[in-house]
Protein backbone atom coordinates (compact mmCIF):
# COMPACT_ATOMS: atom_id res chain seq x y z
CA UNK A 1 0.00 0.00 0.00
CA UNK A 2 0.86 3.72 0.16
CA UNK A 3 4.58 4.18 -0.16
CA UNK A 4 4.40 7.91 -0.77
CA UNK A 5 5.07 9.90 2.37
CA UNK A 6 2.35 12.21 3.70
CA UNK A 7 4.88 14.33 5.58
CA UNK A 8 4.90 18.02 4.67
CA UNK A 9 7.74 20.42 5.45
CA UNK A 10 6.10 22.76 7.96
CA UNK A 11 2.82 24.10 9.31
CA UNK A 12 2.48 26.71 6.56
CA UNK A 13 2.81 24.02 3.90
CA UNK A 14 0.31 21.92 5.82
CA UNK A 15 -2.49 24.51 5.57
CA UNK A 16 -1.71 25.53 2.00
CA UNK A 17 -4.70 25.63 -0.33
CA UNK A 18 -7.41 25.86 2.33
CA UNK A 19 -10.02 27.91 0.52
CA UNK A 20 -12.23 30.79 1.56
CA UNK A 21 -15.61 29.51 2.68
CA UNK A 22 -14.30 26.13 3.88
CA UNK A 23 -15.90 24.26 6.73
CA UNK A 24 -13.08 23.33 9.09
CA UNK A 25 -13.22 20.91 12.03
CA UNK A 26 -10.85 21.70 14.88
CA UNK A 27 -9.86 18.78 17.11
CA UNK A 28 -9.36 19.06 20.83
CA UNK A 29 -11.15 19.13 24.15
CA UNK A 30 -9.33 21.62 26.40
CA UNK A 31 -5.61 21.24 25.62
CA UNK A 32 -5.38 17.59 24.55
CA UNK A 33 -5.81 17.22 20.80
CA UNK A 34 -5.94 20.94 20.02
CA UNK A 35 -3.96 21.76 16.83
CA UNK A 36 -2.42 24.99 18.10
CA UNK A 37 0.36 25.08 15.49
CA UNK A 38 -1.97 24.48 12.56
CA UNK A 39 -4.32 27.20 13.81
CA UNK A 40 -1.35 29.57 14.06
CA UNK A 41 -0.52 28.71 10.43
CA UNK A 42 -4.14 29.26 9.40
CA UNK A 43 -4.00 32.71 11.00
CA UNK A 44 -1.02 33.47 8.73
CA UNK A 45 -2.61 31.77 5.71
CA UNK A 46 -5.64 34.05 5.95
CA UNK A 47 -8.53 32.01 4.45
CA UNK A 48 -11.78 33.92 4.95
CA UNK A 49 -15.49 33.24 5.58
CA UNK A 50 -14.67 29.99 7.37
CA UNK A 51 -17.23 27.83 9.14
CA UNK A 52 -15.41 26.60 12.25
CA UNK A 53 -16.53 23.38 13.96
CA UNK A 54 -15.18 22.54 17.41
CA UNK A 55 -16.14 21.93 20.99
CA UNK A 56 -15.59 25.56 22.01
CA UNK A 57 -14.54 28.83 20.42
CA UNK A 58 -11.70 28.99 22.94
CA UNK A 59 -11.74 30.09 26.54
CA UNK A 60 -11.11 33.42 28.20
CA UNK A 61 -7.85 32.22 29.75
CA UNK A 62 -4.51 33.95 29.42
CA UNK A 63 -1.92 33.42 28.05
CA UNK A 64 -3.95 32.35 25.07
CA UNK A 65 -3.06 29.60 22.65
CA UNK A 66 -4.35 29.84 19.08
CA UNK A 67 -8.06 28.99 18.93
CA UNK A 68 -11.21 29.65 16.89
CA UNK A 69 -11.65 32.91 18.82
CA UNK A 70 -8.37 34.21 17.35
CA UNK A 71 -9.53 33.38 13.84
CA UNK A 72 -12.69 35.36 14.64
CA UNK A 73 -10.63 38.32 15.84
CA UNK A 74 -8.57 37.98 12.66
CA UNK A 75 -11.69 38.43 10.51
CA UNK A 76 -11.54 34.92 9.05
CA UNK A 77 -14.78 33.42 10.38
CA UNK A 78 -18.36 33.55 9.11
CA UNK A 79 -19.86 31.05 11.54
CA UNK A 80 -18.98 28.73 14.41
CA UNK A 81 -20.67 25.41 15.25
CA UNK A 82 -19.78 24.52 18.84
CA UNK A 83 -21.23 23.03 22.02
CA UNK A 84 -19.99 26.08 23.96
CA UNK A 85 -20.70 29.51 22.47
CA UNK A 86 -20.47 31.39 25.77
CA UNK A 87 -18.16 31.21 28.78
CA UNK A 88 -18.83 28.45 31.28
CA UNK A 89 -19.11 30.99 34.07
CA UNK A 90 -21.66 33.74 33.50
CA UNK A 91 -18.91 36.24 34.32
CA UNK A 92 -16.59 34.93 31.57
CA UNK A 93 -16.58 36.96 28.38
CA UNK A 94 -15.11 35.06 25.47
CA UNK A 95 -13.08 36.89 22.82
CA UNK A 96 -15.69 35.52 20.41
CA UNK A 97 -18.69 36.98 22.27
CA UNK A 98 -18.64 40.64 21.12
CA UNK A 99 -18.39 39.56 17.45
CA UNK A 100 -21.36 37.24 17.93
CA UNK A 101 -23.38 39.88 19.77
CA UNK A 102 -22.70 42.46 17.08
CA UNK A 103 -23.85 39.95 14.44
CA UNK A 104 -20.48 39.88 12.67
CA UNK A 105 -20.17 36.14 13.19
CA UNK A 106 -22.98 33.59 13.21
CA UNK A 107 -23.14 30.66 15.63
CA UNK A 108 -24.91 27.36 16.09
CA UNK A 109 -24.92 25.95 19.63
CA UNK A 110 -25.15 22.15 19.53
CA UNK A 111 -25.26 19.53 22.30
CA UNK A 112 -21.82 17.97 22.47
CA UNK A 113 -23.02 14.44 21.78
CA UNK A 114 -25.05 15.67 18.82
CA UNK A 115 -21.99 17.51 17.51
CA UNK A 116 -19.91 14.33 17.81
CA UNK A 117 -22.61 12.21 16.20
CA UNK A 118 -23.17 14.66 13.33
CA UNK A 119 -19.46 14.48 12.54
CA UNK A 120 -19.43 10.71 12.82
CA UNK A 121 -22.55 10.49 10.61
CA UNK A 122 -20.87 12.61 7.93
CA UNK A 123 -17.92 10.22 8.03
CA UNK A 124 -20.23 7.22 7.90
CA UNK A 125 -22.39 8.22 4.92
CA UNK A 126 -25.42 8.62 7.19
CA UNK A 127 -27.15 11.85 6.09
CA UNK A 128 -29.43 12.16 9.13
CA UNK A 129 -30.37 10.45 12.38
CA UNK A 130 -32.61 10.84 15.42
CA UNK A 131 -31.42 11.71 18.91
CA UNK A 132 -33.13 12.34 22.26
CA UNK A 133 -30.74 15.18 23.21
CA UNK A 134 -32.35 18.59 23.23
CA UNK A 135 -35.98 17.46 22.95
CA UNK A 136 -38.28 19.90 24.75
CA UNK A 137 -35.66 22.65 24.82
CA UNK A 138 -35.09 25.92 22.98
CA UNK A 139 -32.73 24.23 20.51
CA UNK A 140 -35.59 22.00 19.30
CA UNK A 141 -37.96 24.89 18.61
CA UNK A 142 -39.39 24.74 15.10
CA UNK A 143 -37.39 21.62 14.30
CA UNK A 144 -38.57 18.22 13.09
CA UNK A 145 -39.18 15.59 15.75
CA UNK A 146 -40.45 12.03 15.57
CA UNK A 147 -41.87 9.61 18.12
CA UNK A 148 -40.21 6.19 17.94
CA UNK A 149 -41.26 3.45 20.36
CA UNK A 150 -43.13 6.02 22.41
CA UNK A 151 -40.26 8.45 22.88
CA UNK A 152 -39.72 11.77 21.13
CA UNK A 153 -36.52 12.34 19.15
CA UNK A 154 -35.01 15.23 17.22
CA UNK A 155 -33.89 14.85 13.60
CA UNK A 156 -30.25 15.88 13.16
CA UNK A 157 -28.25 16.12 9.94
CA UNK A 158 -24.69 15.03 9.20
CA UNK A 159 -22.01 17.72 9.43
CA UNK A 160 -19.52 17.13 6.60
CA UNK A 161 -16.32 19.19 6.71
CA UNK A 162 -13.87 20.24 4.02
CA UNK A 163 -10.86 20.17 6.32
CA UNK A 164 -9.94 18.75 9.73
CA UNK A 165 -7.05 20.18 11.73
CA UNK A 166 -5.94 17.69 14.37
CA UNK A 167 -3.18 16.99 16.86
CA UNK A 168 -2.07 13.40 17.43
CA UNK A 169 0.59 11.68 19.48
CA UNK A 170 2.07 9.33 16.87
CA UNK A 171 1.76 8.77 13.13
CA UNK A 172 3.47 6.63 10.54
CA UNK A 173 4.26 7.88 7.05
CA UNK A 174 1.15 6.15 5.69
CA UNK A 175 -0.91 8.45 7.95
CA UNK A 176 -1.99 5.89 10.53
CA UNK A 177 -2.59 7.80 13.77
CA UNK A 178 -2.47 7.16 17.47
CA UNK A 179 -3.74 9.58 20.08
CA UNK A 180 -2.68 9.54 23.72
CA UNK A 181 -5.27 9.39 26.55
CA UNK A 182 -7.89 12.17 26.43
CA UNK A 183 -6.20 13.58 23.34
CA UNK A 184 -8.30 11.19 21.26
CA UNK A 185 -11.63 13.04 21.79
CA UNK A 186 -12.86 14.44 18.44
CA UNK A 187 -9.79 13.34 16.42
CA UNK A 188 -10.99 10.06 14.90
CA UNK A 189 -14.49 11.31 14.03
CA UNK A 190 -13.27 14.59 12.55
CA UNK A 191 -10.85 12.58 10.40
CA UNK A 192 -13.88 10.60 9.22
CA UNK A 193 -15.96 13.73 8.54
CA UNK A 194 -13.43 15.73 6.49
CA UNK A 195 -12.20 15.54 2.91
CA UNK A 196 -8.72 16.92 3.78
CA UNK A 197 -7.18 15.80 7.08
CA UNK A 198 -4.12 17.64 8.37
CA UNK A 199 -2.38 16.51 11.54
CA UNK A 200 0.34 17.94 13.77
CA UNK A 201 2.13 15.08 15.46
CA UNK A 202 3.97 15.16 18.78
CA UNK A 203 6.39 12.27 18.30
CA UNK A 204 8.75 12.01 15.30
CA UNK A 205 6.82 10.49 12.37
CA UNK A 206 7.36 6.74 12.33
CA UNK A 207 8.29 4.58 9.36
CA UNK A 208 5.43 2.65 7.74
CA UNK A 209 4.84 -0.52 9.72
CA UNK A 210 5.94 0.84 13.11
CA UNK A 211 2.33 0.90 14.36
CA UNK A 212 0.66 -2.48 14.77
CA UNK A 213 -2.54 -2.65 12.64
CA UNK A 214 -4.51 -3.51 15.79
CA UNK A 215 -3.30 -0.35 17.53
CA UNK A 216 -4.22 2.22 14.87
CA UNK A 217 -6.83 4.73 16.08
CA UNK A 218 -7.36 6.43 12.70
CA UNK A 219 -6.47 4.54 9.51
CA UNK A 220 -4.01 6.28 7.19
CA UNK A 221 -6.41 6.30 4.24
CA UNK A 222 -8.27 9.10 6.03
CA UNK A 223 -5.16 11.25 6.57
CA UNK A 224 -3.52 13.50 3.99
CA UNK A 225 -0.84 15.71 5.55
CA UNK A 226 1.42 15.20 8.56
CA UNK A 227 3.78 17.64 10.30
CA UNK A 228 6.02 16.71 13.17
CA UNK A 229 5.92 19.43 15.84
CA UNK A 230 9.44 20.77 16.42
CA UNK A 231 10.55 21.64 19.96
CA UNK A 232 9.52 24.98 21.46
CA UNK A 233 10.09 27.84 20.79
CA UNK A 234 9.91 26.93 17.07
CA UNK A 235 6.46 25.43 17.75
CA UNK A 236 3.71 25.77 20.34
CA UNK A 237 3.94 23.26 23.19
CA UNK A 238 1.53 24.51 25.85
CA UNK A 239 2.47 23.87 29.44
CA UNK A 240 0.15 22.72 32.20
CA UNK A 241 0.02 26.25 33.61
CA UNK A 242 -1.08 27.77 30.33
CA UNK A 243 -4.02 25.44 30.02
CA UNK A 244 -5.46 25.05 33.48
Amino acid sequence: MARRSKIVADFDAAVQGIEDGSTIAFGGFALPGSPFNLIAALLRQGAKRLVCVGNTTGGPRKPRNPDIGMLVENGQVAKVICSFTAGSRASDVLPFTPYYERGEVDAETVPQGTLAERLRAAGAGIPAFYTPAGVGTEIAEGRETRVINGREYLLEYALPCDVALLRAYQADEAGNLRFRRAQRNFGPIMAMAAKLVIVEVEEPILPVGAIDPDDVHTPGILVHRLVHIPPAPAAIWPTLKETR
Binding site: F29, A30, L31, P32, S83, F84, T85, A86, G87, S88, A90, L94, F96, T97, Y100, E101, A107, T109, V110, P111, Q112, G113, T114, A116, E117, L119, R120, T131, P132, A133, G134, V135, G136, T137, E138, I139, Y169, F179, R180, R181, A182, Q183, R184, N185, F186, G187, P188, I189, H217, P238, L240, T243, R244
Partner: protein, 209 residues
Protein backbone atom coordinates in the same frame (compact mmCIF):
# COMPACT_ATOMS: atom_id res chain seq x y z
CA UNK B 1 -24.70 25.51 59.44
CA UNK B 2 -24.86 24.91 55.67
CA UNK B 3 -22.81 22.12 54.16
CA UNK B 4 -19.42 22.92 52.63
CA UNK B 5 -18.88 21.81 49.07
CA UNK B 6 -16.84 18.73 50.08
CA UNK B 7 -19.66 17.87 52.51
CA UNK B 8 -22.21 18.19 49.71
CA UNK B 9 -20.04 15.92 47.54
CA UNK B 10 -19.71 13.38 50.33
CA UNK B 11 -23.45 13.42 51.11
CA UNK B 12 -24.50 13.05 47.48
CA UNK B 13 -22.00 10.24 46.84
CA UNK B 14 -23.80 8.24 49.56
CA UNK B 15 -26.73 8.03 47.10
CA UNK B 16 -24.61 6.12 44.57
CA UNK B 17 -25.21 2.39 44.43
CA UNK B 18 -22.45 -0.18 44.30
CA UNK B 19 -21.37 -0.86 40.73
CA UNK B 20 -22.74 2.38 39.26
CA UNK B 21 -21.18 4.17 36.31
CA UNK B 22 -21.09 7.83 37.26
CA UNK B 23 -20.63 10.87 35.04
CA UNK B 24 -19.51 14.07 36.72
CA UNK B 25 -20.32 17.36 35.03
CA UNK B 26 -18.23 20.50 34.83
CA UNK B 27 -17.55 22.43 38.04
CA UNK B 28 -18.82 21.50 41.51
CA UNK B 29 -19.72 17.86 40.66
CA UNK B 30 -16.08 16.98 39.92
CA UNK B 31 -15.41 17.25 43.70
CA UNK B 32 -17.13 13.87 43.98
CA UNK B 33 -14.18 12.13 42.29
CA UNK B 34 -12.16 12.91 45.43
CA UNK B 35 -14.71 11.45 47.90
CA UNK B 36 -13.83 8.22 49.75
CA UNK B 37 -16.51 5.82 48.52
CA UNK B 38 -15.80 3.15 51.10
CA UNK B 39 -16.45 -0.34 49.76
CA UNK B 40 -18.48 0.79 46.75
CA UNK B 41 -17.18 0.12 43.26
CA UNK B 42 -17.89 3.18 41.16
CA UNK B 43 -16.65 3.76 37.61
CA UNK B 44 -16.28 7.42 36.76
CA UNK B 45 -16.93 8.44 33.15
CA UNK B 46 -15.94 11.80 31.65
CA UNK B 47 -17.72 13.03 28.52
CA UNK B 48 -14.41 13.42 26.69
CA UNK B 49 -14.02 9.65 26.61
CA UNK B 50 -12.13 8.79 29.79
CA UNK B 51 -13.60 5.72 31.51
CA UNK B 52 -12.63 4.73 35.04
CA UNK B 53 -10.76 7.85 36.07
CA UNK B 54 -9.53 8.59 39.57
CA UNK B 55 -8.79 11.65 41.70
CA UNK B 56 -6.96 14.75 40.50
CA UNK B 57 -3.25 14.17 39.87
CA UNK B 58 -0.89 15.37 42.58
CA UNK B 59 0.95 18.59 41.73
CA UNK B 60 3.94 17.82 39.53
CA UNK B 61 2.58 14.43 38.47
CA UNK B 62 0.03 15.67 35.96
CA UNK B 63 -0.27 13.98 32.59
CA UNK B 64 -0.72 16.72 30.00
CA UNK B 65 -2.88 14.39 27.86
CA UNK B 66 -5.28 13.44 30.62
CA UNK B 67 -8.10 15.82 31.57
CA UNK B 68 -11.72 15.41 32.60
CA UNK B 69 -14.79 17.41 31.50
CA UNK B 70 -13.68 20.29 33.76
CA UNK B 71 -10.14 20.44 32.28
CA UNK B 72 -8.73 19.10 35.56
CA UNK B 73 -5.62 16.94 35.27
CA UNK B 74 -6.87 13.60 36.53
CA UNK B 75 -5.44 10.12 37.12
CA UNK B 76 -6.38 6.88 35.39
CA UNK B 77 -6.07 3.87 37.71
CA UNK B 78 -5.58 0.33 36.30
CA UNK B 79 -8.56 -0.90 34.29
CA UNK B 80 -9.36 2.43 32.68
CA UNK B 81 -10.07 2.84 28.98
CA UNK B 82 -10.20 5.63 26.42
CA UNK B 83 -12.81 6.02 23.68
CA UNK B 84 -13.37 8.80 21.16
CA UNK B 85 -16.08 11.42 21.50
CA UNK B 86 -18.74 9.65 19.43
CA UNK B 87 -18.24 6.44 21.41
CA UNK B 88 -18.27 8.37 24.68
CA UNK B 89 -21.66 9.86 23.86
CA UNK B 90 -22.79 6.48 22.55
CA UNK B 91 -22.31 5.24 26.12
CA UNK B 92 -24.29 8.23 27.38
CA UNK B 93 -27.20 8.09 24.93
CA UNK B 94 -27.57 4.30 25.18
CA UNK B 95 -28.30 4.58 28.90
CA UNK B 96 -25.04 3.14 30.25
CA UNK B 97 -24.59 6.02 32.70
CA UNK B 98 -26.32 5.21 36.00
CA UNK B 99 -26.14 8.76 37.21
CA UNK B 100 -24.91 12.09 35.94
CA UNK B 101 -24.22 14.79 38.50
CA UNK B 102 -24.56 18.22 36.94
CA UNK B 103 -24.21 21.77 38.15
CA UNK B 104 -27.23 23.98 37.52
CA UNK B 105 -28.52 27.54 37.56
CA UNK B 106 -32.07 26.45 38.37
CA UNK B 107 -33.90 23.30 39.51
CA UNK B 108 -37.68 23.00 39.34
CA UNK B 109 -40.18 21.05 41.42
CA UNK B 110 -41.55 19.68 38.12
CA UNK B 111 -38.12 18.00 37.59
CA UNK B 112 -36.98 20.34 34.82
CA UNK B 113 -33.65 22.08 35.19
CA UNK B 114 -31.76 24.88 33.45
CA UNK B 115 -27.98 25.02 33.26
CA UNK B 116 -26.99 26.14 29.78
CA UNK B 117 -28.07 29.69 29.15
CA UNK B 118 -28.08 32.75 31.36
CA UNK B 119 -30.52 35.62 31.05
CA UNK B 120 -29.88 37.83 28.06
CA UNK B 121 -27.04 35.72 26.67
CA UNK B 122 -26.94 35.08 22.95
CA UNK B 123 -24.65 32.04 23.19
CA UNK B 124 -24.98 28.99 25.38
CA UNK B 125 -22.89 26.50 27.31
CA UNK B 126 -24.57 23.23 26.44
CA UNK B 127 -21.52 20.99 26.48
CA UNK B 128 -22.62 17.43 27.15
CA UNK B 129 -25.43 18.41 29.52
CA UNK B 130 -28.37 17.93 27.13
CA UNK B 131 -27.22 14.45 26.09
CA UNK B 132 -26.52 13.48 29.69
CA UNK B 133 -29.77 14.93 31.02
CA UNK B 134 -31.87 13.21 28.36
CA UNK B 135 -30.20 9.81 28.66
CA UNK B 136 -28.60 9.05 32.03
CA UNK B 137 -30.67 6.71 34.20
CA UNK B 138 -30.56 9.27 37.01
CA UNK B 139 -29.91 13.01 36.95
CA UNK B 140 -28.65 14.55 40.20
CA UNK B 141 -27.99 18.28 40.52
CA UNK B 142 -25.31 19.77 42.77
CA UNK B 143 -25.81 23.50 43.03
CA UNK B 144 -26.09 26.63 45.15
CA UNK B 145 -29.46 27.15 46.81
CA UNK B 146 -29.50 30.87 45.98
CA UNK B 147 -27.88 33.30 43.56
CA UNK B 148 -25.25 35.75 44.78
CA UNK B 149 -28.08 38.25 45.15
CA UNK B 150 -29.99 35.83 47.36
CA UNK B 151 -32.67 34.88 44.82
CA UNK B 152 -33.84 31.26 45.01
CA UNK B 153 -32.57 28.76 42.44
CA UNK B 154 -35.10 26.08 43.46
CA UNK B 155 -38.33 27.04 41.73
CA UNK B 156 -41.76 25.68 40.85
CA UNK B 157 -40.81 26.03 37.17
CA UNK B 158 -37.63 27.16 35.48
CA UNK B 159 -37.39 30.78 34.38
CA UNK B 160 -34.31 30.17 32.20
CA UNK B 161 -34.34 27.99 29.06
CA UNK B 162 -34.40 24.36 30.22
CA UNK B 163 -31.70 21.75 29.57
CA UNK B 164 -34.16 18.85 29.81
CA UNK B 165 -37.69 18.33 31.06
CA UNK B 166 -38.90 16.05 33.85
CA UNK B 167 -35.60 14.28 34.50
CA UNK B 168 -34.21 15.47 37.86
CA UNK B 169 -34.20 12.84 40.63
CA UNK B 170 -32.22 14.58 43.37
CA UNK B 171 -30.91 18.06 44.11
CA UNK B 172 -28.22 18.81 46.68
CA UNK B 173 -27.46 22.35 47.85
CA UNK B 174 -25.64 23.74 50.83
CA UNK B 175 -28.97 23.58 52.72
CA UNK B 176 -29.98 19.99 52.08
CA UNK B 177 -30.80 17.08 49.81
CA UNK B 178 -34.12 17.29 47.97
CA UNK B 179 -36.29 15.20 45.71
CA UNK B 180 -38.49 17.10 43.24
CA UNK B 181 -41.91 15.44 43.29
CA UNK B 182 -43.59 17.24 40.39
CA UNK B 183 -45.17 19.91 42.55
CA UNK B 184 -42.77 20.33 45.48
CA UNK B 185 -39.30 19.59 46.81
CA UNK B 186 -39.41 16.78 49.34
CA UNK B 187 -36.66 17.05 51.97
CA UNK B 188 -34.46 13.98 52.11
CA UNK B 189 -31.85 15.48 54.41
CA UNK B 190 -31.04 18.87 55.92
CA UNK B 191 -27.63 20.39 56.63
CA UNK B 192 -27.03 20.64 60.39
CA UNK B 193 -28.97 23.45 62.03
CA UNK B 194 -30.96 24.39 58.92
CA UNK B 195 -34.64 24.80 59.81
CA UNK B 196 -37.67 24.19 57.61
CA UNK B 197 -38.54 27.87 57.93
CA UNK B 198 -35.13 28.93 56.67
CA UNK B 199 -35.43 26.43 53.84
CA UNK B 200 -38.91 27.64 52.84
CA UNK B 201 -37.72 31.24 52.82
CA UNK B 202 -34.88 30.30 50.48
CA UNK B 203 -37.00 28.23 48.09
CA UNK B 204 -39.52 29.48 45.49
CA UNK B 205 -41.52 26.24 45.41
CA UNK B 206 -43.47 24.21 47.97
CA UNK B 207 -41.24 22.21 50.32
CA UNK B 208 -42.49 19.03 51.99
CA UNK B 209 -41.00 16.74 54.63
Amino acid sequence: MPWSRPEMAERLAREFQDGWIVNLGVGMPTLIADVDLGGKEIVFHAENGVIGFGPVAPEGQEDIHLVDASRRYITLPPGGAIVHHADSFALIRSGRIDVTVLGSYEAAANRDFANWKVKGAKGGVIGGAMDLAACAKNVFLMMEHRTRDGAPRLLAQCALPVTARGVVKLVITELGLFEPTGTAFRVRDLAPGVTMDELRAATAAPVTE
